[in-house]
Amino acid sequence: MAMELDAAQNPNPNPDPPISAYYQTRADHHAVVSSDWLAHAAAAASSVTDTDADAAPPPSPGGNGGGVIEEFNMWRRKPEAAEAVAAIMALTAVIRSSRATTMMELEIELKKASDKLKSWDATSISLSAACDLFMRFVTRTSHLEHEKFDAAKSRLIERGEKFGEISLKARKTIAMLSQDFILDGCTMLVHGYSRVVLEILKLAASNRKLFRVLCTEGRPDRTGLRMSNEIAALGIPVKVLIDSAVAYSMDEIDMIFVGADGVVESGGIINMMGTYQIALVAHSMNKPLYVAAESYKFARLYPLDQKDMTPAHRPIDFGVPVPAGVEIETSARDYTPPQYLTLLLTDLGVLTPSVVSDELIQLYL
């Protein structure tokens, strides 16, 4: 609300209005990312890790929060790392550096750290989902073990690291599962800059499949241009469409791949603005829509309509000053109900949307 008032008063809405930090991160990443840079960055980050771990501030009962955020930021800056994975790594580090002597204390510390992370960006669904998942993981472990605290703690650390590993590997798993869906000679549409989808395309290209990709421009995130850059680097023929041209091109499209910011309990997804539109067009023209999402993105949310989510805003630059008194819709994401999704490709397997709730129930109840 406040943001839109600002936009009304300022002819040039500037990035001062509260931007969802989640999208800010991605903007930072995506502004300069290229494949080469990725490699450099990864190398640099790994060397940074060692020094950072040593320099982690000594934890005090109340000061853990700050440590978590720093740790989190450190992991997050790796362009390859998903935010959720970074959170999990950070929480594992909290356990590692914790000075608690009982399980209860440890759990309380973790809870505080987790809340701190979640509040850092209230709009990121995968972040809060991953935090919840990790907490759940931990509490389940702690209830089952009756051993000494140290043994339990090291077990927790081990579990946490394994969780982080699985999450990192999730993309590879999903890429492998998706290969069956990409046939030679097919045309696919991608929307949004999803690293999972990119992984899928990489694997398909390396398997020497022949296909071509249509890529939406993806305003305001400018994802289309970046994505097409990446895809072209893989040697796959790519064509960029403006967002309005999706229905126009839907005839020649065989399938659509999108990622997800979060997968909700109904089986629907929350993803970059424009996904719902594409899903509706695809549904009416009977084209399958595949969502590639890691399992830690399953969240216990249940939006009933588009406005039922925590709003996340992006500044939109139209290139020309917007007249005063004109509002701009700046929401960065939308909700696609499950009936428009064909399949979810996750590291748990290829699932139908109704299975998401099943998984969540099994995990949380």
Partner: protein
Amino acid sequence: MDLRRPPRSTSGGVEPKIRQVGFVTPDVSGPSELPAVAALQPGPAAGSPPASDLSPGSLSPVMIPPPRHADHLSPGSPSPPASEAILASSAPQPSSMRFDAASELAEDDSRSMAPSAGELETNKGDLADTQNEGAPVSQKQKPSKAERRAIQEAQRAAKAAAKEAGLSGKSTGAPSGANPAVSKQAKSAKASQKKDVPPAANTVASEKKVTERLPERDRKKDAPHPRMQFDDVHRVEKAKKRAIVNQSEARNRVELFRHLPQYVHGTQLPDLESKFFQLEPIHPSVYKVGLQYLSGEVSGGNGRCIAMLLSFREAIKDYSTPPNKTLSRDLTAKISSYVSFFIECRPLSISMGNAIRFLKNRIAKLPLTLSESEAKASLQSDIDRFINEKIVVADQVIVSHAITKVRDGDVLLTYGSSSVVEMILDHAHELGRKFRVIVVDSRPKLEGQGLLRRLVAKGINCTYTHINAVSYIMHEVTRVFLGASSILSNGTVYSRVGTASVAMVAHALGIPVLVCCEAYKFHERVQLDSICANELGDPDVISKVPGRADLDHLKNWTDKENLQLLNLTYDATPSDYVSMIITDYGMLPPTSVPVIVREYRKEQLWV
């Protein structure tokens, strides 16, 4: 055992609620028996000669039966043993008796009705053969049938002249022309046969079946019975002796709903009240709750379930094991008898059925080492825990989930009066959310008026309308909150009649429909329409509008043969119209109900 429905006949039997269409080949012990039987009993077994070609027990498509022979029952000695052999191999006694009666009816009706009807009757005759195997009693009918045919023919002719015959009319109203002596003799012979039925059958089951079958007796003289009816007088009398609630005739039944117990409760209340102190076997608190069901004082899934459980709790408290009996078995039998009493007052709701299953489970799981007082105390605490966890606390959890979906400026629509939805609205109001409520109501129960009064008393902004205006009012609505009597495995919501219409209109306008239901009400059965299982209410309330004595066009509706009034209590809302189900396990899509049933049942084992 699911007590909400009469127990299935175990083997070879037909589920009572299924309409029999076509011929069922007899399930015989040996193929050589068949031709003998067929030759000797072409009447009831009219379909069997062609049917014997098919594998035993298979349902063959409708076949044209060979013409009936007048002298088919030259009662020779081979006939009874042969039929006895065939009849000896069927299992269920109640259904055997039922089809037994039907086979007689088949014979009667075949005389007076059109051949097409006769086909149905012979069909039932086949079924009689199938089902009668194993009842050592039935074969004695063969000789008496031959005797009584003439009498019954005359009786039927006389009955055809009467407008309505009471149940007892068949026996007492034997009109002129019938030989009372012979008929009485025949009927007493039948009565003795009936009494010969081994008591192995679950008496509760047969009692339940009887009381349910009784009111379904056809009033329309010419319409063929689509189902097996208990027209036999002795059966009726026996059931009447057993039944605590007097079952009187129901009139003008709707064809499509004849498989459901017809509404006969209207006149029972004074009768039962007078019997209050006379009924030894029924505990007074159980009796009281039964009366409350009859009068409609206690209604609503949660209310009825809680009342029932509390009455059981009292009964258990006052219970003492008779000598030479184990507590668990005797108590289970007692509870079953209480349950059948409740069913006589008003058919069980699904919530009640689940609670009864839980209680029986707990009784069965009592360790044998417990003393009687310990066992009783444990059961009472189990009941308290069930009520607390599954209903009271569950409601609180549901409210806490649902409150996240109520925003400022919302217009919430609700239908009828659901206890959970009322709690949600109260809580939202307490939290200071700004919203208004539209209460949609419908005749004849007008349950929404009570809800409206209570909401307005709390200061909530309300609008009230009837269901005919639901499509008009739906444009203003942002969310629809509905309660449910139960949610079935395929996500179908089984709730007060009218709910489906409200959900459908909301769906058509893209308005989210939120169904709030505690998890203990979930059930694993699947229902595709509102017809196969439902509850029929009193048709008389439809014919009258309270406060409008001038609207009496339907005053004499029972006199009109072509007019039937239908008062359904429940309907089934398909899962497509439901956006979300809110339970104590959280907010779920309708597709996740079987998951909860699976997990919930598992949990019950450890409860």
